[in-house]
């Protein structure tokens, strides 16, 4: 038996022995484990599962063991992933520390920074948020104005961020700040504790109701100079890498959100199905067919891109295409659901609507943000035109 085969056998056995039963069921949104200084575990088994995975370093399987990771090779990590999928194991820990900051620190961080920040991320002790957008720096992110004055041993940070996800629940922030007037070459990447004096957050209510986004204000916040990641004024490079990564994540949002709402043809049948299950309105039936066919074509395209990438024929514009098409398709899906369900999909609260119907309405509204956050659809189309099609500026 090859080493990898042995690894697979051992991993499978460990997972089967250690993953609690309820951790093998689909995860409700509110059972996600985010860690942090005040961790919450709605389902007690999620704490057990989290702790066992932390003990293996498998919250971050490919990170070095020195930093709390599992030290796995890419192949081994793939096997772990396969086996977790096979058993329907839940992801034990979520957070921007794992998905965004960790990779940045591994690439750009000093040894001291790695030692200070990576293990707490791996162990879910510190929850991170991301300070990128500002009121006047949306699509034009590099226009950010939050200022960090270099005062020798510290930076003095003043300004405002917006769309800071979970800022009100986060312990630390990684943040793009302006350290020079040159638009792209004057941006730096700073880390600081959200408890630092001068940091304030204010949650943003979205049109869909409550939200995880905040406005975050910095008033003379003192950040130790050692919390600069990478070189001074070189933060834009880091930001670009993270943005591409984020795009990929958001193009999944539609699919994830879709997961909490039944497929469009199911909703259509529920409200418009005749005795045989056929959607009784032929015009809406055609629209539903178009929707599910494009969904299928899109899924196949994502799969194809995966194969191409595995074969080394990766396409630089793929993430923009997926971000664009996935989010637009998701918006169309909800508009179509609204047409099929009629007024029953338009309830805000109250007993005359089922919980599913109320979710439909909120999720429809939330879907409108998908084509804005993480780079608008317009920006994605610009990127495709330029990078993939080579059209001139």
């Amino acid at each position: 038996m090859s080493t990898l085969d042995s690894f697979r056998v051992a991993t499978r056995a460990w997972l089967e022995a250690n993953c609690p039963a309820s951790m093998r069921t689909p995860m409700p949104e509110d059972e996600r484990v985010w860690g942090g200084r005040q961790p919450s575990f709605k389902n007690p088994e999620s704490k057990i599962w989290f702790e066992r995975m932390v003990s293996r370093g498998w919250t971050v399987p490919t990170w070095p063991t020195a930093w709390g990771g599992g030290g796995l090779t890419t192949d081994e990590a793939q096997i772990l992933n396969d086996e977790m999928t096979r058993l329907n194991c839940r992801t034990p820990l979520f957070g921007f520390g794992i998905s965004m900051l960790g990779p940045v620190l591994l690439k750009y961080g000093t040894e001291a920074q790695k030692a200070e920040h990576l293990p707490p991320i791996a162990r879910g002790e510190i929850r991170w948020c991301q300070g990128y957008s500002e009121p006047n720096a949306g699509s034009d992110l590099a226009n950010l104005q939050t200022k960090a004055e270099n005062r020798g041993d510290h930076f003095l940070v003043n300004g405002q961020k917006i769309w800071t996800s979970y800022a009100h629940l986060a312990d630390w922030i990684f943040c793009l700040v302006r350290t020079d007037s040159a638009k792209h070459r004057g941006i730096s990447f700073l880390l600081f504790d959200m408890r630092t004096a001068g940091v304030k957050t204010r949650p943003i209510a979205l049109i869909s109701g409550a939200s995880v986004f905040c406005e975050t204000f910095f008033d003379n916040v003192r950040v130790p100079t050692r919390n600069l990641v990478g070189q001074l004024n070189n933060g834009w490079q880091i930001a670009k890498e993270l943005l591409q990564h984020e795009r990929g994540m958001i193009s999944q949002i539609g699919r994830a959100i879709g997961g909490t709402v039944p497929p469009v043809e199911v909703v259509a049948k529920q409200y418009l199905g005749d005795a045989t299950g056929k959607i009784s309105d032929p015009v809406l039936r055609d629209a539903v067919a178009r929707q599910v066919m494009n969904d299928r074509a899109f899924e196949l395209t994502i799969r194809r891109a995966g194969q191409e990438s595995a074969a080394g024929a990766a396409d630089g514009g793929a993430s923009s295409m997926f971000k664009y098409y996935g989010t637009e398709q998701n918006k169309k899906k909800f508009e179509l659901i609204l047409k099929c369900a009629g007024t029953q999909a338009l309830g805000w609260t109250g007993p005359d609507f089922t919980p599913d119907e109320l979710t439909l309405c909120r999720t429809w509204l939330r879907s409108k943000g998908n084509s804005i956050e993480g780079g608008t659809s317009e920006i994605q189309l610009n990127v495709i035109a330029k990078r993939v099609l080579g059209l001139p500026d």
Partner: protein
């Protein structure tokens, strides 16, 4: 079409503009929503609107109305649509009053219309029973009992149903569940025994209720007009409501578009106003065309209503379908073009998309009306 306004209409338009911008700006709806106001509109303001003659605008002077016609009401609804004003204009001025006028006996008209025109009574139409508009799919039954009837069934999306004084209930006295024949309209006291009203809290923060009728006993005098032929009286009034709603939607679309246009001129990214980007310009120009087309069909339909032309049903479907398509486009584009800020509850633009979808579904969506238009054209 009556496009060029006469002096009287211009005055009406000016007074509507002043009324809604001063007394019912969009933030009034937000306040009603945030306070979870039990009524869902401002009774004080409704009385003020009645004093301006708007509650009885479609009612002849003989019955205490202002008789200003659909074109006049269209002007008011367009302005109401700009500020998304919540009021019984649609339930009572556009539907309740005119239906009593259309179907009622002289005695019934004299009994009810004066109070409607005075803004003293809210009269709601209890028609639809499904989540998509289907005006002849009526399963609510009225059975003869003694000299009167007993009503049994349930209605959805009754506009202002929770605060109505009277309900105009469309019930089946004969015929199959989806036949236009065999429907009878009853004027029923909204607090009559056996009636349960559940106020709906809709995404647009406007007013509607589901209403259940559990063996509600009504007198024979409650029949509005003739038994079994209520649909003939209802149909033209319903078309009027579709056109009136299309006028409101035109106003909402215009307002959302103008706000978006303004944002495109002010919002700077990459050192220039985002309205200078050609792709956004073209989308704005497209919206402009759709709004212009909608204005034309709404005006034509309003005129046809006042002239009681034979093509009212066709034009009503044209106006409502076009208003639905336009407003779906404009309200969606508005959010996208406002970007992140448009997703916040703090920014008012989101109220337009919420109202848009409810208005789209009310009295038939674009699919419904395209089908109806095709049938009217014989294909």
């Amino acid at each position: 079409m009556g496009l060029v306004l006469n002096e009287e209409q211009r005055m009406l338009q000016r007074s509507a503009q002043e009324f809604f911008s001063a007394r019912q700006p969009l933030k009034a709806l937000r306040t009603l929503r945030d306070n979870q106001d039990a009524t869902g509109f401002d009774r004080e303001l409704w009385r003020a609107m009645a004093e301006l003659g708007w509650a009885g605008i479609l009612i002849p002077e003989a019955y205490g109305g202002a008789a200003f016609g659909y074109q006049g009401l269209g002007l008011i609804l367009e302005e109401a649509g700009r500020s998304l004003a919540a009021s019984p204009l649609i339930s009572t001025a556009l539907l309740g009053g005119p239906l009593i006028l259309s179907a009622g006996s002289e005695a019934q008209k004299h009994a009810w219309l004066g109070a409607v025109a005075a803004g003293e009574r809210v009269v709601a139409l209890a028609l639809d029973e499904r989540s998509r508009h289907a005006p002849t799919s009526i399963a609510t039954r009225a059975k003869s009992q003694g000299s009167g009837y007993v009503l049994k069934g349930s209605k959805v999306m009754v506009l202002d149903g929770h605060v109505a004084d009277q309900l105009l209930v469309v019930a089946r006295t004969s015929g199959a569940d989806d036949a236009a024949q065999g429907l009878t309209i009853f004027v029923v006291d909204a607090t009559a025994r056996g009636i349960t009203r559940t106020r709906l809290t809709l995404v647009d923060s406007r007013n509607a209720a589901n209403v259940a009728f559990d063996n509600v006993e009504v007198a024979a005098t409650a029949v509005l007009g003739m038994p079994d032929s209520g649909y003939a009286a209802l149909a033209p009034v319903l078309d009027g409501a579709r056109v009136g709603l299309a006028a409101e939607m035109l106003g909402s679309g215009l307002e959302a578009f103008e706000r978006t246009l303004n944002y495109l001129k002010l919002r700077v990214q990459f050192g220039v106003p985002i309205g200078s980007f050609q792709a956004l310009k073209h989308r704005a120009a497209l919206m402009y065309c759709e709004i212009e087309l909608t204005r034309s069909v709404v005006l034509e339909a309003l005129t046809a209503l006042d002239e009681q032309r034979g093509d009212v049903p066709q034009l009503a479907s044209l106006a409502k379908a076009k208003a639905c398509e336009m407003l779906e486009l404009v309200s969606s584009e508005a959010i996208q073009l406002f970007g992140g800020i448009g997703m916040t509850d703090e920014e008012e633009i989101g109220f337009f998309i919420k109202r848009a979808r409810v208005a789209q579904q009310t009295f038939g969506d674009a699919v419904f009306h395209r089908d109806r238009y095709a049938t009217s054209m014989g294909f």
